[in-house]
Amino acid sequence: MARQIKVLLSKLGLDVHNRGLITVAKELRDAGMEVIYIGNSLPREIIRTAIQEGVDVVGVSSLGGAHLTLGGELIEEAKKEKFVEYVAFVIGGVFSPSDAEKLKEIGFHGVFMPGATREEIVSSIRKIVSGKAQRLQGE
């Protein structure tokens, strides 16, 4: 039996819209993951909490337009801590198609947009996490 996946979820910055993220929190918990929801937070704080909690996944949500700036900063902070190699980073929210591509280029392992189903979110998080674990074992 696989180890329980531990996920940290946060709203990026000052974005007020949390319906999507609360829904995802419940869905991941129902799928057997351990979920920590910290509400609104900035990249540095998110990474600090993620390290303290030893999570496998950091999921952030942004519907207010700051996904590239704050999302980019999040990955930068994670790189500083060499964290990005061990932990899966996923982002959900309202993005243009070209911004969704940019988010993947920046380093997000999963990018979820309006319309993403529970099945898509849960299974792709599991896949990213197990992919990372295998790669690390191989090293």
């Binding site: 007020v16 609360i22 509400g39 609104n40």
Partner: protein, 585 residues
């Protein structure tokens, strides 16, 4: 004693035993009942008989079952005068004005706000130049959450999904060349706290331009539900203090800016967050009841307050439910004001409202379909007799609308207004067996939920204890399940999916350099202003917060001397302390 009775109990007591003038003669109804039974057994197919009631599953719907056919039997004790009345007459079910849209078109008030004040000013002028009839300004996330553009928390979000405002100088730029004494302006200050900060900036701007406040027309939102429930933010002040600021705003604006709508009970954002149309209205009414109660407690006359109350609703996808809801809440508000509060002025009994088509009903898949969705929602709103309307744009599942998309939204309204002929007749669906039965059903359900809130200790207590937070979380989780199971059908998303991907649409790009421009302007202001005056004003504000004085004269003084929004919010946080809202999942 009436204070101990719930609104529902008061209405029941006041309306009990009233003689009703029945539209349908009992003998006729009895004959009809027999014929109806015969028809049902002989003509209607068995499978239809077994599934006589069907429940529409729709985005943000109320799950109210519907009969296959409505007849006079659906509303047997229909009393035209008592239940409907003519338009412009109590209970205003048919509309608050006798001539409705013949007398005054609905105001076409498209939301505008992105980037810095300069960009937003350009877009406002563009919409007015194309026939928009009102201004509706949306603020960026830092402004809404009351942080300055130079706050570390604001990084990367300045000018996103709204316009950045730090001080009276920015407010002045947003409204450059806009005749404030001629157009009506809606400032989408969702929260009581930011209303108490941003509206004084608007007033200070009017002062600078020499426009007397009694010529300003427009509205603010000023709703505790938005600040304490429908928000995700880093810092919250406690609900009782938030409610007090809501009432302070009302008191000050009523006194000093007499034509201004000082509160717009915002059902919209609550419903979009995740509630049925029934809960949306029950919550807004409960808040309104609590507020008017508090204003009376403060010694004000009920009509002095109630004449300027306004509401903001979200028409979603279930067409007839939306029409019926608007009619139902108009009638219920009339009863509440007349029988619970003893209002004398007709105007106090008017449920005046602005509506915005439903944002969460917009799909990312095949975005042009959203034009159709929004148009039907707008049509339902007009059948429902609203005063003012915003139509969402088709590209909003991607970003802030482009100029082209925003123009299409305005055109949707203009086509309804000028090409369909709908606005020539008041309440065209009134009298429909179906619409009247549904209106009755929805009114009952709204009042039942108001009762539930009042029995749980009243509105502020319901917020404080997380009752509403929990209800919302349950609703939207359930709705998500229904979409995933395909019970709620969404064209192009979970039914009739396109086998080939459609070409991408042109999406809005934010202007660059806004954050730097805002920070530079704020830094310039902080150098130029008299910092001693600013400190004095901020200290006086803190003192007013602690002593229970109305805070608005003090935020006004802060705005006049050039205090920033963030500086004023810091005072609120210091004076009231912080509150942690419950999160349920």
């Amino acid at each position: 004693m009436e204070q101990n009775k719930t609104t529902k109990e008061i209405l029941q007591a006041k309306l009990a035993g009233r003689k009703r003038a029945l539209l349908y003669h009992p003998d006729v109804l009895e004959k009809l009942r027999q014929e109806f039974q015969k028809w049902k057994s002989n003509v209607v197919r068995e499978e239809d008989r077994l599934k006589w009631q069907a429940t529409p599953h729709t985005i943000l719907g109320s799950e109210i079952p519907r009969e296959m056919l409505y007849t006079p039997l659906s509303n047997p004790d229909f009393d035209y005068t008592e239940d409907l009345g003519h338009s412009g007459q109590g209970p205003f079910t048919r509309g608050i004005h006798a001539n409705m849209y013949r007398g005054k078109e609905f105001t076409m008030r498209q939301l505008t706000g992105f980037g810095g004040p300069e960009e937003t000013n350009q877009r406002i002028k563009f919409m007015l130049a194309h026939g928009g009839t009102g201004v509706n300004v949306l603020f960026d996330l830092p402004t809404i959450q009351m942080y300055d553009s130079d706050d570390p928390l604001s990084k990367g979000q300045v000018g996103m999904s709204g316009v950045a405002i730090d001080s009276v100088e920015d407010m002045d730029l947003v409204f450059k060349d806009i005749p404030l004494d001629k157009v009506t302006v809606s400032l989408v200050t969702h929260y009581p706290s930011n209303t108490a900060i941003l509206f004084p900036m608007y007033l200070a701007m009017a002062e600078r331009r020499g426009i007397p406040w009694d010529r300003l027309r427009g509205s603010v939102q000023n709703d505790i539900t938005l600040e304490e429930v429908v928000r995700s933010g880093p810092e919250y002040i406690p609900p009782p203090d938030c409610f007090r600021i809501q009432c302070d705003n009302i008191e000050f604006i009523r006194q000093e800016v007499p034509l201004w709508n000082f509160v717009t009970y915002n059902g919209y954002n609550l419903r979009e967050f995740g509630t049925s149309g029934v809960t949306e209205m029950a919550v807004a009414l409960s808040n309104a009841i609590a507020t008017i109660g508090e204003m009376i407690r403060r010694g004000h006359d009920v009509d002095w307050v109630a004449e300027r109350v306004a509401f903001f609703w979200s028409p979603a996808s279930d067409f007839f439910e939306e029409v019926a809801r608007l009619r139902a809440v108009r009638r219920l508000w009339y009863k509440i004001m007349k029988y619970r509060f003893g209002a004398k002025s007709q105007r106090s009994m008017w449920m005046r409202c602005h509506v915005q088509t439903s944002g969460v009903s917009l799909m990312r898949e095949e975005p042009l379909n959203n034009l159709i969705r929004a148009a039907y929602q707008a049509l339902a709103a007009v059948f429902g007799g609203v005063q003012s309307l915003h139509v969402d744009s088709y590209d909003e599942a991607y970003s802030v609308p482009t100029e082209e998309a925003a123009l299409l939204s305005l055109r949707t309204q203009q086509i309804i207004q000028t090409e369909t002929g709908i606005t020539d007749v008041v309440d065209p669906l009134g009298g429909s067996f179906y619409v009247e039965a549904l209106t009755n059903e929805i009114e009952t359900r709204i009042l039942d939920e108001v009762d539930e809130i009042e029995r749980a200790g009243g509105y502020v207590a319901a917020v404080d204890r997380g009752w509403l937070h929990q209800k919302i979380a349950e609703y939207f989780y359930n709705e998500r399940n229904m979409i995933e199971k395909g019970d709620i059908k969404l064209v192009g998303y979970n039914i009739y999916q396109s086998p080939v991907g459609l070409p991408p649409i042109h999406v809005f790009q934010y202007p660059e350099g806004v954050e730097e421009r805002q920070k530079a302007r704020l830094a310039g202001l902080k150098e130029r202003r008299d910092n001693e005056k600013v400190n004095t004003a901020l200290t006086a504000l803190e003192d007013a917060c602690k002593r229970g004085l109305n805070v608005v004269p003090y935020t006004l003084q802060c705005a006049r001397v050039g205090s920033s929004e963030g500086e004023m919010f810091k005072v609120f946080k210091k004076a009231f302390g912080l509150w942690k809202p419950p999160v349920f999942w």
